[in-house]
Structure formats: structure tokens, C-alpha cells
């Protein structure tokens, strides 16, 4: 594809540009500094303790489910790390599911089959127009209401149980040797790895909600490729599938990837709604920390920093993917 190239700026214009940008950056930094300084001063005046020393103190609270081994005597920092690990534990699979499922729905909306098109359209409208928080609560209370009590867990296979405590599976490691098997206890199921109802509700809720946005992104991306492209490809004797794979998709991807990565990022941020349904992800753990230590500003700054880093990583990944898909498109 031809690329429009802007005329090179004159040296004077370039310097003006650099100067302007430096000025804006300087102003922003000054504003940030003022904000931090005013906050610190105000907190001191009001007798509110501050500092990051609490990070190395023992957490003192438990975390119900954690990918990283965690005990209440571990440090606050480790508790936050466990929270971040839990965020990723739900966000990454949800990104995968929402992308696959959303793509199918998006393609369905372009299908020649009327029923399929309408169904997919209805899905997108319904899921996008109900607030995610409500969807999560609905998923959560459906999951917990439907499943049998933990004392009457369903056994799906040897050592696989399903109950209000979630889905318990055998897992590696643990207290007693190589394999850690879930066991029926007096009250509930213990041992093994559990996908709790909180986790399942969050995974399903995030995946299906984001899938609706992914579907729209995919549909729009494909619809944006000029009709002539397909017509030409078909005229050249390509099959419909070949047309899709070799002509449509490479061009559509350029329009799809940037908004798609945005969706992935929103998904990761939306995972913080887990505080409503009891899944201990980063924001939930940070909230608990904030309340136990009283270091509100610090905890909030930490959450912001972590999400900023996640955003930057995603943006970087997106740019990389775009370059790659660009190359792919140019090659084919």
C-alpha cells in the first residue's frame, strides 16, 4: 500500500517543536511535583503517617486463594505480589477466551446466515449495554446458588469435586509429596487446586463482556477493507477462504490490533471489579493493606504505578504486533 509521506520540517520548525514539547513536559512534571508535595505536606499537617516502610512489615491477613504461596506472616509486598499474580491468573485466560469467542461472534455478524447474524448482534447489544459489575454479581450469585454445598460436593471424577467451594482438581506439590489431591473434609473440600466461584464468575464475566467489544472490533476491521479487494481476489479465482486468509485478514488486522489491545487492557483493569465478588486480585489486596496500615495515598500510588506499567507493556506489545502484521500484509 502506498504511504503518504509528510514533507520534512525545516530546521527552525524542528527546534520550535522540540522546545514546545520540552515546555509541556516541564509543566507536567512541575504539576506532578506540586501534587506530591502538597499531598505530603497536608498529610503531615493532619497527623497522617506516610512512607513506604509498611511494605516490608508482615501482612497479618490471609489471602483465600493465591497462585503464589502466601501466609499471613509474609510481607505486605509479597501479599501485593500475590494479588498481582491473581490479577494475571484471571486476566490472561480471559483475554484468550474473549479474543477467540469475540472473533467468532464478530465473524458471525458478517455471516450470510440471517439467524446467526441476528443472534450475534443481539449478543453484542445485550452484553455491552448491561454494566459489567451487574454481570459479575449475576454470574457470581448464579454460580454460588446453583452449585451444591461444599459438604455435599459433586464428584465428577476421582479427586475432582464441584461445589460452592468451586472446582477442585488434583495439583502438583503441596504438603504431602508429588501430587496434592483434593479430599472430602468434614465441612468442605480441601487440598488440590481450586477454581473458586469468585474466580469462575470473574473469568466468565470478563470474558463474555469483553468478547462483545472484541466482536465489534473484528467486524468493523473487516468491514473497513474496501469491497473491491474481495471482488478482485474472487475474480482472480481465489476461494472464499483464500480470500479471507490472504486478502481480507491481513488488511483488516491493521485496523483490528490497536483497538483490540485496548480491549485487553480494559479487561485487565476491569478485573479490579473483583472486590465486589471476593476474588483477591491486586486492588482487593491493596484495599485490605490500605485499611490495615492506613497508608491510603501510598497504596493508591502503587496500584496506579502497577496499572501504568501494565498499560505501557500492552501498548508496547500492541505496537510490536502492528509492525509484524504490517510486514505480513506487505509480504502477501
Amino acid at each position: 500500500m502506498p504511504i503518504a509521506v509528510a514533507p520534512a520540517p525545516t530546521p527552525a520548525a524542528r527546534w520550535r517543536n522540540i522546545g514546545l514539547q520540552a515546555l509541556i513536559a516541564g509543566l507536567l512534571l512541575a504539576l506532578l511535583w506540586w501534587l506530591i508535595d502538597a499531598t505530603a505536606t497536608n498529610m503531615r499537617e493532619r497527623g497522617i503517617r506516610s512512607g513506604f516502610d509498611f511494605l516490608l512489615e508482615p501482612a497479618g491477613f490471609g489471602i483465600g486463594e493465591s497462585l503464589l504461596p502466601f501466609d499471613s506472616t509474609d510481607s505486605v509486598l509479597w501479599a501485593l505480589a500475590a494479588g498481582l499474580a491473581n490479577t494475571l491468573r484471571v486476566a490472561l485466560p480471559a483475554i484468550l477466551i474473549s479474543t477467540l469467542f469475540g472473533t467468532l461472534v464478530g465473524l458471525g455478524r458478517l455471516s450470510p446466515n440471517l439467524l446467526l447474524r441476528k443472534l450475534c448482534g443481539a449478543y453484542v447489544e445485550a452484553l455491552r449495554n448491561v454494566p459489567l459489575l451487574l454481570q459479575l454479581l449475576a454470574w457470581y450469585f448464579i454460580v454460588t446458588d446453583l452449585l451444591p454445598a461444599a459438604s455435599e460436593a459433586l464428584q465428577l471424577a476421582p479427586h475432582v469435586f464441584l461445589s460452592k467451594s468451586g472446582l477442585s482438581l488434583p495439583w502438583l506439590g503441596g504438603d504431602g509429596g508429588l501430587l496434592n489431591l483434593p479430599q472430602r473434609g468434614a465441612m468442605n473440600i480441601s487440598g488440590g487446586a481450586a477454581m473458586t466461584p469468585e474466580y469462575l464468575a470473574l473469568l466468565l464475566g470478563l470474558s463474555f463482556y469483553t468478547a462483545a467489544y472484541v466482536a465489534e472490533t473484528v467486524r468493523a476491521g473487516i468491514a473497513a477493507v474496501p469491497r473491491g479487494q474481495s471482488e478482485a481476489a474472487l475474480a482472480l479465482g481465489l476461494t472464499r477462504l483464500q480470500n479471507f486468509r490472504l486478502v481480507l485478514l491481513p488488511q483488516a488486522l491493521r485496523g483490528i490490533i490497536p483497538p483490540l489491545t485496548n480491549q485487553h487492557l480494559s479487561l485487565t483493569k476491569n478485573a479490579s471489579l473483583a472486590v465486589a465478588i471476593g476474588y483477591p486480585e491486586l486492588v482487593s489486596v491493596a484495599n485490605t493493606t490500605l485499611n490495615q496500615t492506613g497508608r491510603a495515598a501510598e497504596c493508591i500510588a502503587l496500584i496506579m504505578a502497577v496499572y501504568l506499567i501494565l498499560s505501557l507493556l500492552t501498548a508496547w506489545l500492541s505496537a510490536w504486533l502492528e509492525r509484524r502484521s504490517g510486514r505480513w500484509a506487505d509480504r502477501s
Binding site: V275, A297, I300
Partner: protein, 337 residues
């Protein structure tokens, strides 16, 4: 706390400096006391179907409004969940936090706040379904326990089971409602919070109260009381002394009903408390009948207790540790003298 609120909180800390010594003036100027309460814990602070607030914590707000503004109705109730409460007070959104809040060292010494007095001596307990046949907290090995975040409850849970060498799994919810809903849907084998609130949760929220029991042991001390901002000693003193006056009134047998007769009592202590012979209000920056107004509005401490959580209420909690010091309890107010 969600992401957008986070940015707001930061801005909040960055805005204006503390207004030292101005709370009384502001309350008088607005002719309204902004009181932080819970979103609904019957017996302590809960709104009824007409939107009227009731409970012990609410009565403290009313007593203070009566003493300061001469009208117990001039209160704006601000419902706050466990996490929001301290920020609301720090930022000046409320003048007083009267919301089943436990006095601890970390809170008292690092949040820029002062605990004023203890209005209810509580302890943390457990609510369990009867069918699990659990009789003591030590049998909760491996149990999943529903709890609300932003509470002392969450940390006590960690501490106590650590000390017992028992592993449990907390399931932590931001909102009170979601936490009890999850418990009653059977998600957890136990629910934990202050024992006083457990009594309300069992009798008012359970589908069938008889299917649940409150375990006998308490695993912590939870002295609950109102909180004010630091840096305003005048206001701090007012809140403290209105509470002490309510307790003293019980000691002297002054009730809502006999208040007028008591005003002509020959006892100098009663004269002093009710602003007869001596003007005790002057020292606090209040009118001389400040304490009489408070008692007139809500009754003495004993009346507040019985009406909201004691024998005249559905909760029927015993006075226990919340009886007067000379009746076997812990309530002991410094003398109004």
C-alpha cells in the same frame, strides 16, 4: 475502591489544609451535623423504610446535635462502608464518625484521627450454619470464612487462626451486603464480624434464624466508639463529654422521662450536670443545658442501649461488659465536675 475513586482520593489529600479548631463553628454555621454511619447494621445505624435512621451510633449523633444545635434532628447521615469511613472523616466530608468502629493503635496514631470514647465493648465472633454441627471456633479447620474488607475483623481472623495453628480461607468482600449474601447462599462455612452485628445478621438477614448459631467464643476485643479529626481539641472535647454525660446520667438515674424533675434535685452533682447551679457548658463552648438537651433527645446511656440493642429491641443483647462500672460492667465515665 475502584480505579476512578483512586484518583479522587489522591486529589482529596492534595487539596486544602486541615481546618484546625473550626468544626464547632462550621457545624453551627451550617446548622447541621454531618455524621458518618454504616450502610445498615440494625441496632447501631440503619435507615428504616421511611428513611429514618435508628441505632446506638445514630443516637450519639443525635445527642451531639442536641447539645450543640439544640435540635437532635439537625443531623445529616452519611452512610459509609468499612473502607470509606476514615477517608470521609479525614477529608472533612463528615464532622463525626459514629459507625461501629474499633479503637486500635494503628488507627488512633496514624490516620490523623482521635477516638473519643468507647460506646460499646464488643468482640469478634462467628456465625455458622447449625447443620455443620460446629460448637467452637477451633473446629473451623480449612473452613472458608466470609468477611468484609476494611475491617479489623479481617486481620483478627489472620492473627487468631495463626495463633491456633489452624488454616482457614478468608473470602473477602468490599460490600457488607455481598458478604452476607454469599454467606447465606452457602458459599462460606462461617461468617465473622463483631458479635453485636452477628446478632443482627442472624435475626434479620438469615432466611431462617434458627438454622444458624453464633459460636460462644470471642476472638478479639472490639471497643467501638466515635472518631473525630485531629487538630481540633475543642470539638474532640465536646464529643467526648457528651458521651460521658450520657453515661453519668445513667449513673445518677436521670432519664428522658424524669429529666424535668431531676432539674430541681438538691444533689449538686446532678445540678452541675444539668446546668442548674453551675455552668459546665461554658468550658466546652456550649450552652449551660448541653447535657440536659442530650438526655432529653435520646435518654441516658442505659436507655439508648436497651432501646436499640437490649431488652426493648429485637436483638435482646445482654448489657454484659456494657453495664455501668458499679453494676459489674466496664462503663466508667470521668466525672462532669
Amino acid at each position: 475502591m475502584r480505579l476512578p475513586t483512586i484518583a479522587l482520593t489522591l486529589l482529596l489529600f492534595a487539596h486544602a489544609p486541615a481546618h484546625a479548631g473550626k468544626t464547632l463553628d462550621q457545624v453551627r454555621q451550617k446548622a447541621q451535623l454531618a455524621c458518618g454511619v454504616s450502610t445498615g447494621v440494625i441496632g447501631f445505624s440503619a435507615a428504616d423504610s421511611q428513611g429514618r435512621w435508628n441505632g446506638m451510633d445514630v443516637d450519639i449523633c443525635r445527642a451531639i446535635a442536641a447539645a450543640v444545635l439544640n435540635d437532635p434532628g439537625k443531623v445529616k447521615y452519611v452512610p459509609l462502608n468499612a473502607q470509606q469511613r476514615f477517608t470521609a472523616l479525614q477529608s472533612g466530608e463528615i464532622d463525626l464518625l459514629s459507625r461501629n468502629t474499633t479503637w486500635t493503635l494503628t488507627r488512633d496514631a496514624s490516620l490523623g484521627l482521635h477516638f473519643t470514647a468507647v460506646t460499646y465493648y464488643d468482640g469478634q465472633g462467628f456465625l455458622v450454619p447449625k447443620k455443620l454441627k460446629i460448637t467452637g471456633a477451633k473446629q473451623l479447620k480449612n473452613a472458608e470464612i466470609c468477611v468484609q474488607s476494611g475491617t479489623t475483623t479481617e486481620k483478627n481472623l489472620g492473627d487468631w487462626f495463626k495463633a491456633q495453628g489452624i488454616k482457614v480461607k478468608p473470602v473477602v468482600f468490599e460490600k457488607f451486603e455481598a458478604s452476607i449474601k454469599a454467606f447465606f447462599s452457602g458459599r462460606c462455612q462461617a461468617y465473622t464480624t463483631d458479635a453485636s452485628a452477628l446478632a443482627f445478621i442472624r435475626s434479620k438477614e438469615a432466611p431462617n434464624p434458627d438454622d444458624y448459631v453464633v459460636l460462644p467464643e470471642l476472638i478479639s476485643k472490639e471497643p467501638l466508639g466515635p472518631v473525630v479529626r485531629r487538630g481540633d481539641d475543642e470539638w474532640f472535647a465536646i464529643v467526648k463529654w457528651v458521651i460521658f454525660a450520657l453515661i453519668e446520667a445513667e449513673e445518677y438515674g436521670i432519664t428522658q422521662a424524669n429529666l424535668e424533675q431531676m432539674k430541681s434535685s438538691p444533689d449538686p452533682a446532678i445540678q452541675r450536670l444539668l446546668g442548674g447551679a453551675e455552668d459546665s457548658g461554658k468550658l466546652l463552648g456550649l450552652e449551660r443545658d448541653w447535657a440536659a438537651r442530650a438526655v432529653k433527645a435520646v435518654g441516658n446511656y442505659g436507655e439508648i442501649f436497651q432501646r436499640n440493642v437490649g431488652k426493648d429491641s429485637p436483638l435482646k443483647l445482654p448489657r454484659g461488659a456494657n453495664a455501668l462500672w458499679n453494676k459489674g460492667g466496664l462503663l466508667y465515665a470521668p466525672p462532669v465536675r
